[in-house]
């Protein structure tokens, strides 16, 4: 009896001690500023939903202690950051993620994160300068091989504030540019200001990429299969399609996002039979905007790995031929799906040119040669790729095949006949080796065919090296 009665006060005292020790911790956790607590990497226990109530409680207790520990670590980091030289700019300071993994944060999450990705890996490439390069070897059947530094692209960004950003993309094509030479091009493909207002509504102005198709806005070499971009994204959708303009964009929630721009129109007098509307881009160089074009894209991310998109372009194109009512309309549908190591994508695009016959007549009278442009162009492709290495490996290897059908004379204006050489199909097959997710060593072979009995489309063998940083 005495023993029991004497143990009671001790127990009560210890409980009170426990309560007093517990209280400040929880108080600290809840007495956060109005803004949410800065986060620190942490590991949630996998037994949060364990069926055993005692185990669940233990897990919750452990999680709470873990969180307090993480907050302590965060406070330590803040203190260190204050003591160290302050960083500036919108890009994350290189030390940020690494410091989150610093040895003074020995939470289970740290160990996990350090295991998943080394600190060195996490801090690479955090500067304001980015870019990509494309280096190709192309060998067409019956022709000499060509070694070409196809693209050298630098992207510069700057944040004036959280709400005003600048993005630019400067591209040097084919390595060398001399006045009026056709071999190379120096292009300002993007240079715009973003005014970020709300997630659903933001304003953008400057040199913009037309939000049409898969490739035009996603053309970094490691992000697509094949040495060259798909034919459909070259001759039906004239990637890289850029021009001056302004518009709005945003994320509508539930997986939907949109872009809608007013842009400088195409010049119909530059259209060709072989490459469709491609040469009609004004490229923001003293662009004639007597009329403007409207373009837009709606994207839907239905579930992880699945992206569906549709886009359009509509605008008058006859500013060089004022007496002709000429318009270009384009509709496009695309989808991408990635599941595990399987990648699938497909795209369909059709172009409508009003007044094509009149444009052919006017250009023929002016230059002596009819461009023989069509009133409709159409193309589509389907592509499948499979990554062969386990996803846990740091390098990867993918094999792919793509079928393309594209016709730049799909429907001709009255009085004009389509030429079979412009109705083309292509099988592109090859592989890509990724020594790093941002470096792609590519090989492919293109079986190109057309419907002409006279002019044969040459097959080609291509090697490429592309990288993003």
């Amino acid at each position: 009896m005495n023993r029991k009665s004497s143990s009671l006060p001790v127990n009560v005292c210890l409980c009170l001690l426990g309560l007093s020790l517990w209280g400040p911790g929880r108080e600290t956790a809840t007495a956060q500023p109005a803004t949410p607590a800065p986060s620190v990497p942490s590991q949630s226990p996998s037994d949060v939903t364990a069926p055993d109530p005692a185990a669940t409680e233990r897990a919750r207790l452990r999680a709470d202690l873990e969180r307090l520990e993480a907050q302590l670590t965060m406070l330590k980091q803040r203190l260190s950051a204050i003591e160290e030289k302050p960083t500036s700019g919108a890009e994350p300071p290189p030390a940020d993620p690494a410091s989150a993994l610093a040895p003074d944060a020995p939470t289970p999450s740290v160990a996990q994160a350090a295991e998943d990705a080394s600190a060195q890996e996490l801090v690479t490439g955090t500067g304001p300068l980015s870019g990509y390069m494309d280096f190709h070897f192309n060998k067409r059947k019956g022709e000499d091989g060509v070694l070409d530094f196809h693209r050298f692209v630098l992207l510069f960004t700057h944040s004036f504030s959280d709400r005003i950003r600048f993005v630019s993309e400067l591209e040097l094509e084919h390595a060398f540019v001399e006045g009026l030479e056709e071999a190379g091009e120096l292009e300002l493909e993007q240079a715009y200001l973003d005014f970020l207002l709300t997630p659903k509504f933001n304003v953008r102005a400057g040199m913009l990429l037309a939000p049409v198709g898969i490739i035009n806005e996603r053309h970094e070499p490691p992000s697509f299969y094949g040495v060259e971009r798909p034919f459909v994204d070259t001759v039906i959708i004239p990637s890289t399609w850029f021009d001056v303009g302004a518009g709005v964009h945003g994320d509508l929630g539930r997986g939907f996002s949109y872009r809608a721009y007013l842009m400088a129109p195409l010049d119909a007098t530059k259209f060709t039979a072989e490459e469709g509307i491609r040469d009609g881009r004004q490229k923001g160089s003293e662009a004639n905007v007597r009329d403007v074009a409207l373009t837009g894209r709606l994207e839907y991310r239905a579930r992880p790995g699945l992206v569906l998109g549709t886009s359009f372009w509509h605008g008058n194109t006859g500013f060089e031929t004022p007496r002709i009512e000429s318009r270009v309309g384009l509709v496009e549908f695309d989808g991408r799906y990635s599941q595990g190591r399987l990648d699938l994508r497909g795209e369909f695009a059709q172009v409508f040119i009003d007044g094509a016959g009149e444009i052919n007549d006017v250009v023929a009278r002016t230059t002596g040669v009819s461009p023989n442009i069509a009133r409709q162009l159409r193309g589509f492709y389907v592509e499948g790729g499979y990554r062969l290495f386990p996803s846990t490996w740091s390098h990867d290897f993918a094999a792919f095949a793509r079928y393309e059908n594209f016709d730049t004379q799909f429907r001709m204006p009255a009085g004009y006949q389509p030429l079979g050489e412009f109705d083309r199909t292509a099988w592109v097959t090859g592989f890509t080796y990724y020594p790093d997710p941002d470096v792609a060593v590519k090989f492919d072979y293109v079986f190109l065919q057309n419907r002409s009995d006279i002019i044969r489309a040459p097959n080609s063998f291509n090697l490429g090296l592309g990288w993003w940083f």
Partner: protein, 133 residues
């Protein structure tokens, strides 16, 4: 005897802690977010006020950044196949908290955004108004 006292004391404190923990530990929610050019999937995360949100970030292509505007949270998401990085968000205040990619990742980098929506806790909402009669 002394050991017996210590054991009892430890058990008592343990019981108190477990009781307190079960009463005060906020609910925890784990959400996996995949980043790829130029979107987060999912791009909107909805939690109830008081939830401790753990966001496990993973990339499907290159390095991306994950920055919650208005906070110090700013981490680099490892490249594809290089693992995940967890981030904690204590949803103490109702509201909409925007997150974005903070590492230049390509042409559409500035479109890569999302939001954490913290809804007021049900027991803190004012009682529903009586409908007009």
């Amino acid at each position: 005897m002394f050991r017996y006292h210590r054991l009892l004391a430890a058990l008592s404190v343990g019981a108190c802690l477990v009781q307190l923990a079960s009463a005060q530990t906020p609910p925890r929610k784990v959400v996996h977010v995949v980043a790829e050019r130029f979107a987060f999937m999912p791009s909107e995360i909805v939690v109830e006020q008081g939830t401790l949100l753990e966001i496990r970030l993973q990339s499907d292509d290159t390095n991306h950044g994950f920055r919650i505007t208005g906070t110090k949270t700013n981490v680099i998401i490892p490249k594809r196949g290089r693992g995940t990085i967890p981030v904690l968000f204590d949803a103490l205040t109702p509201g909409r908290f925007t997150f974005e990619c903070s590492k230049m990742c390509g042409a559409g980098h500035t479109m890569m955004k999302g939001a954490i929506v913290v809804k007021p806790r049900a027991d803190r909402q004012p009682p529903a108004a009586h409908p007009d009669r």
